[in-house]
Every structure is written in structure tokens, then in C-alpha cells.
Amino acid sequence: MDKPFAVTLDVGSSLANRTGSWRVERPVYIDRMPPCNDACPAGENVQSWLYHAEEGAYEAAWRALVAENPLPAVCGRICYHPCETACNRAHVDEAVGIHGVERFLGDLARSSGWSVEVESPPSGKRVLVVGSGPSGLSAAYHLALLGHSVTIVEASPELGGMMRYGIPKYRLPRDVLDAEIAAIRALGVGVETGRRIDDVAAAQRDGGYDAVFLALGAQLARRAYIPAADSAHILDALSFLASAGGAEPARVGRRVIVYGGGDTAMDSARTARRLGATEAVVVYRRTRDQMPAHASEVEEALAEGIQMTWLSTLARVEDGAVVIEKMVLDEHGFPQPTGEYETLGADTVVLALGQEADLSAVEHLAGVATREGMLEVAPDMTTGSPGVFAGGDMVPAERTATVAIGHGKKAARSIDAWLRGEEVVRPPRHELASFDKLNTWYYDDAPRTVQHELEVVRRQTGFEEVVAGLDRERALFEARRCLSCGNCFECDNCFGVCPDNAVVKLGSGERYAFDYDYCKGCGICVSECPCGAIVMVPETI
């Protein structure tokens, strides 16, 4: 003890003082469910592939994307992107243009020749997939990746279902579709086209399949009784659109009336315009707001000069004209006839009144239930018949390609579990990363990138793709607009803002940890985390 005058203690560091003992609440890192992932009907982990894309790691991004969805180039074009409707960035400026990045990745994969390999060992099980629309293709893809031997049987001459025979080329160029289908076939998926299955049970038995996925779609055009002159030219929208995609498109004349208010009606009117009609008029019995068509479709149609006659029904079809009756909405919002009639010139009438599933193939299948013309399935896509699963437009759900892709994936997981005699184990779903969980101060201001559209004249005369893709730089910009809601993206904010240096930075990709020896539990890290990936939880004392 040889100390200077009046000094009795050795100098020490304050590190001896474990201020963590003051704490009554502790911060904990969590992951929340981002709204985009939550909303994606195909179950994509949108945020994770955007995360890779932000770095310009496009192949990693594409691989994260196709882990869930084999059709990114298709979905990036035709999906109505509920992810963007849910996107929290819409509250800041505009939603992230997720579909643009998705499309960019899908197209880049094709031009770069990236492919997916089957890594699972062969299971020795055989699965029959009936129908090759989005749900059939999705199921086949995921089943193949899980090691099962898959055969797709398709009644039409080519694979793709409504993506090929329903969706016009100007929205989905066929080379894009062909490439993504070819990638699925390259996994060893067997294909029989031009074969229609009339009895599923017999097909399964005769083919020796261990399980069946039914994805027959909804291809019967719904009819309405409309008095018509013998010479009237009336088409249903489905066969009209199918013919437009083929070698000999239907002839439409100068003036075309499309009856209906859904996306198919929009597609039909826009297709009619491209086939030479100078006037295409959509007649719908309710108002614009009530149209089931997606707003983007209606806007694109209007931009192409499609006329809309709302609150009108088709009373009868005459030779070269239609007679429509004006409607009014009653107090419940339902259209009621007024007795006022009007005549519109019409060389062709296209009926786009919805579609129904043809369930005759499952009539002999024991145990299956149908409701309102659709096949009943449980949430895991099982039907009442063991080993038979179903999805897509033939089961009750919203009828979009992306929903169908989600069905296919879900069914593939259920089929896989069933073939192994196991239950599907779903990880617990994280709490939603709603907007109030974010601290948006930290995000740079950045308005959305505009995707260029083809000039209207070219849209009215040809089937060129309307909406252009993003180039590399714009895709990167758009990806970086992601707020990473609910999941740490390593911005170092918690590490920076802790007054007690109680956050440990673990290094790239490893995120952070709290040093509870010194964390006083002030909660600044929680307030200042941009993406809401930290919560305070009470200490157990």
C-alpha cells in the first residue's frame, strides 16, 4: 500500500458497476411478420428476397424467391400484388414496387441461365397432378423438389392453363411463360398434354399414383339468358381470349360489346381493340366502384380508349346492335331496372360473366364434397378423399394466379407429409409488423420508380407487352425502398443509440445482442429501431 497522500483506493473502471441490475424491463430482439409476406397469396417471403436484392445479390434474391414461387417472371407481370396494397411504405410515400423487382429477378434468371436443382433424394412416391395452370405447376414444382415423381396431365395441347388460354399476351408474353414452365419440366416432371381425365379415381388406380392433386380450374363460361337474334354474333370471353392467343383469332367486327365487370371483361375489351375493333364498350350492371375488376386493369383499359357503360344490363341482342336497360342502385346498393332502354351498335357481343368449374371428373370420387359448383377443401388443401388434394380456381377462393400458386405449394407440402405419414408442421406465425411499430424517421425519402408503359396507339393495335420492366439500377433503387418491417436489417441504430453501450454488434449477418450486465432498460433502442424489431418485456424479479 504505497499510495500518494489521501489516496486509499486503486483506480478502477466503472465496468465493475453492473448497472443492468437497475432494470425492470429488458429489450429483446424479435422478428415480426412483414405485411407483404402476410398478404402474399403464394406465401412468398417478399422481404427476404428484397433484402438480397438491396445488395445487388440478385441470384440469391431469385433463389429466395423461387424457394416459394416457381413463376416469378409471370407473377411479376400478372399478379395483382396484394403485397403492395399491404406495404407499410404506402403510409410514408408510396408502396414499394415489389412486382417490378420480382419481374426483374424472374427475367434476369432467364437471361442468366440460373436454375434450380432437386436436392432431396427420390422418395419413390408418384403423384398425379391434373391440370397445368398455376396451381398445378406450383404443386408439381414443389413436389419435384421434395423428391417425388410427378406427372402432370393436361387436357389442352399446351401447359399453362388460364395463364396461356386466358391472360392476353400484352400482359404476359408467352416466351416468359414458356421459359418458367420449361424450368419446372427440367426438374424431371412428366407431362401428358391433350389428355382429359374424366374419372380421377380410375386415373389414380390405373396409373398407380400414391396421391393426386386436382387443379382443373374453372373453365366453363357462365351463361345468362339473353334473347338474341339468330344472326347475332355472341362469344363467351374464355373462348374469345383463348382464340386470341392462338393462330386464328376470332373475328370481331368494328364494334364490340363486352358484358361483365371483371378482369376477364377488361381483358376481352382490350383484346377486341387489338384485334381490330374500333370501339369496345364494357357494359356492366353496377357502378365502377363495384366492378370486380382490379383498378389497375380498369385504368389501363380506359387509357386504351375502352368505353364503359355502368349501371346497364343487356336486355337483348339484335342484328348489329344490343339493347341495354338502364339500372339504378337501390338503398342496399343493388342495381334495379328502370325500364329505360337504349340501343348500342354491336357487331360482336362478348359475355364475360364469370366461370365455373367442371366437376364431372370427381363425381365418382368417394368422400369429396362440393359447394356452389366448387370442390370443398380443408385449409391444408385436402379433399374428403384420402390422398386426393385440390386447389386453384376449382376450390372456393379468390380466383387469381397467385392464389392458385399458393394452393399448389400448400398442397405439395400436405401431399409430402401425407406420403411420409406425417403431419404438416407449420411454424408459429409472427405478430404482424404494422405501421405503428416502425420509426419511419430513419428512412430516406424516395418516391416509387415508374414503370414505363407502351404508347396507347401501339397498345390499341398490337399484343406487345404494355408495361415495361425495370432496369438493373431502377430495380436496385426499388428494392432499397423496402422498410424491412419487423425484421432487423442491421442499420446499427440500436448499437448507436444505447447510452450505456449495452448493445453488442455481432458483425455482418449476425445482427446484435444485448449486454444485460449494463442495459438499464431505458427502451431508447426500441423507440429508435426503424423497423420495429425490438420489444421490451418485463423482467422476472
Binding site: 437497475w22 432499397r480 448499437f495 448507436g496 447510452p499 453501450n501 449494463y518
Partner: protein, 337 residues
């Protein structure tokens, strides 16, 4: 990715760091090997703005001087919570003498270093608002006048917090402190009194004066860096919210500093040789209520009946700052951004 032309990095300009940014563009606080000049185990309250501000400023100064830095410290919270004998939280050479003499001590340190030919070692002095605007004011003004080679940093939490929240010359109008209670016709601190030290410092014509807050880390570090690139007397005034004295939530420390700027009550600017040379514009302007309502020291202004007249008067203070410093970007300026 280093050659990427895209400049936008999600949170690059506001958060402490970002995995996509070059190291050089990230803040010092995002660096794993930062100095941590003020290390863990200090006895500051939960959510202390001053502890945060001191580490931000000194780590930036350490980076700017390549670690050749010494500090003088006035009495105050910062001294008390960091160095209860025999412990210290300081990881830099650090000297405490008296409440009022930190500028003079720093002057002496700078003079001694000069005599010894060690002008590579730089000197900072730091104090709270009490030590700066009241008790140390004479020494500080002298240090400014002599243009001694010292960066003086004031961590302003707007009252004497360490001794029990008594009013200082930096306490804002209407704020309740132990010595300006929320009673009578003019509750809280008086309007029209107190000292605006950044502007007093500018009036000394010293080489560099700046204001900063713990909410604008990039801004604060840039200002420290700028200050350390200059020789002579420099002054940095950092707003550091105090959960104890402001009666605010400990988690709101940074939010309050941000709202002080965004309301216009605490203008961010830089001045060189007596002239204001740069101003940080308000990004998302808010009414002063947004700032005041989060603080118990203004609780008497709200509720029923509250004192909307005093709130309006405080708004006028903010409006005056906005006008004086041009804190709100004009249309043309926004175009440039």
C-alpha cells in the same frame, strides 16, 4: 457494390449505419471498434441524453484526432455519474477540477501542450448548461476572447439536474423546475430571460460555433469533425434531453431531441468567425405541442383548462427561430434536395 451509381440506401442518411454503405459514410457510432470514450457502468439515469451526447461527441473527436485527445470536465451530472471515486467510465485522459473553471483548465492544458511541443494532442472541455451558461460563463468568455485552442462542448439539458432540477440560464420559458414551480399566473420559468449561448459565442467572433442534438447523429459527428479541423476557440452546444428533469419517458430521449429541432425550438446551425454559414432544415415540421406534451415539466400547460396562451407564446419562440435561421426549406430549396 462499391461502383454502384445508386445513392439511395434505405436509411443511409439518418440511421447510425447501414450494411450497404461504405465504412467511410457510416457514423463512428456504428463502428464496432469505436472508442467508447464513456464506457458502460456509468451511473447516469436510464435513457440519459447527456451520456449519449458525450459519447457521440468524444468518439467523433477521438476519430478526428486519431486518438490524441484530452478532456477537461466541469462539475455536473456528467462528472458525477462518470467518476464516483475510485471508478471512472472515461477511456480518454480526463481531468476534473471545479464547477466554474473548466474553460480555464482547458486553456491551461492547451497552453502546456503547446509549450511541450505536443500540438498534435487536442483539448476538449465539456460541461453541462449550468457549468457553461452560468457558473463557468466568465471563464468561457475569456477562453473565447483569447481564442485558445480548445473545443468547448456544452451538453444542454436545460437545468441543474444533478442537484435536483434547479433552473439554469438555459431553462426554457414555462418549464417547471424545482425553483420555477408550476404555480401562479406565470407558472414555470419566465419568458424573456435566460441566455442563448450559441449566439453569444457567435458574437465573440470565434472560428467555429455549432449546435447539435443527440437525435441527429450524422450531423453531430460532422460538426465535431469540422470543429477538430480548426485551430482556436470552438464551441459546440448539444441538446441532451433529461428524462429525470424533463419528466419524460426514458425511451423518449432521442424522440424529444428530434422534436425540439422539428418544432423549431432548437435550431441546428453552424457559424464561422461570427457569421452563420449553414442551417439544418426542418424535415417534418411539427407544432410545439408535439414536443411539449411528452414532458412532465410542461404538464401545467395542457389539460383542462391548461394554458393555451403560453403554448402559443412558445410557438412564437419556435416561429422566431424558424424565421431567424430559415429553418423551413423554400420550394426552390426542396427542388435542389
Amino acid at each position: 457494390m462499391t461502383h454502384d451509381p445508386v445513392r439511395f440506401y434505405q436509411v443511409g442518411s439518418f440511421a447510425a449505419g447501414n450494411r450497404l454503405l461504405d465504412q467511410g459514410q457510416r457514423t463512428e457510432q456504428s463502428r464496432r471498434g469505436r472508442s467508447n470514450s464513456l464506457t458502460s457502468g456509468h451511473r447516469a439515469c436510464q435513457g440519459c441524453g447527456e451520456a449519449l451526447g458525450a459519447r457521440y461527441a468524444l468518439d467523433a473527436a477521438m476519430r478526428a484526432t486519431d486518438g490524441r485527445l484530452v478532456a477537461a470536465n466541469a462539475t455536473g451530472c456528467l462528472e458525477v455519474f462518470s467518476t464516483p471515486y475510485p471508478e471512472t467510465s472515461w477511456q480518454i485522459p480526463w481531468l476534473h477540477s471545479l464547477f466554474g473553471n473548466a474553460p480555464a483548465v482547458a486553456t491551461g492544458m492547451a497552453a502546456a501542450l503547446e509549450v511541450k511541443g505536443r500540438t498534435d494532442v487536442r483539448v476538449v472541455a465539456q460541461a453541462g448548461d449550468g457549468g457553461t451558461v452560468d457558473i463557468g460563463f466568465g471563464c468561457l468568455s475569456g477562453m473565447f476572447e483569447r481564442n485558445d485552442d480548445v473545443l468547448f462542448i456544452c451538453y444542454d439539458n436545460e437545468a441543474y439536474m444533478n442537484t435536483g432540477v434547479q433552473r439554469s440560464g438555459a431553462t426554457p420559458p414555462a418549464a417547471r423546475t424545482a425553483t420555477t414551480e408550476a404555480v401562479g399566473p406565470e407558472p414555470g420559468n419566465e419568458f424573456g430571460q435566460g441566455k442563448d449561448l450559441p449566439r453569444i459565442a457567435i458574437a465573440h467572433g470565434i472560428p467555429y460555433v455549432a449546435t447539435a442534438t443527440v437525435a441527429e447523429l450524422h450531423d453531430l459527428e460532422r460538426k465535431v469533425e469540422r470543429a477538430m479541423s480548426i485551430r482556436g476557440a470552438r464551441y459546440l452546444h448539444v441538446l441532451v434531453p433529461c428524462p429525470l428533469g424533463w419528466a419524460s419517458a426514458s425511451s423518449d430521449t432521442i424522440r424529444l431531441a428530434r422534436l425540439a429541432c422539428e418544432s423549431g425550438l432548437f435550431p441546428l446551425f453552424e457559424a464561422e468567425n461570427g457569421e452563420v454559414v449553414d442551417v439544418t432544415k426542418i424535415r417534418r415540421q411539427v407544432p410545439v405541442e408535439d414536443y411539449l406534451k411528452l414532458q412532465g415539466r410542461y404538464r401545467h400547460l395542457f389539460g383542462d383548462p391548461g394554458r393555451p396562451d403560453l403554448v402559443r407564446q412558445i410557438q412564437k419562440v419556435a416561429d422566431r427561430n424558424i424565421e431567424r435561421f430559415g429553418l423551413v426549406a423554400t420550394g426552390a430549396e426542396q427542388e435542389v434536395r
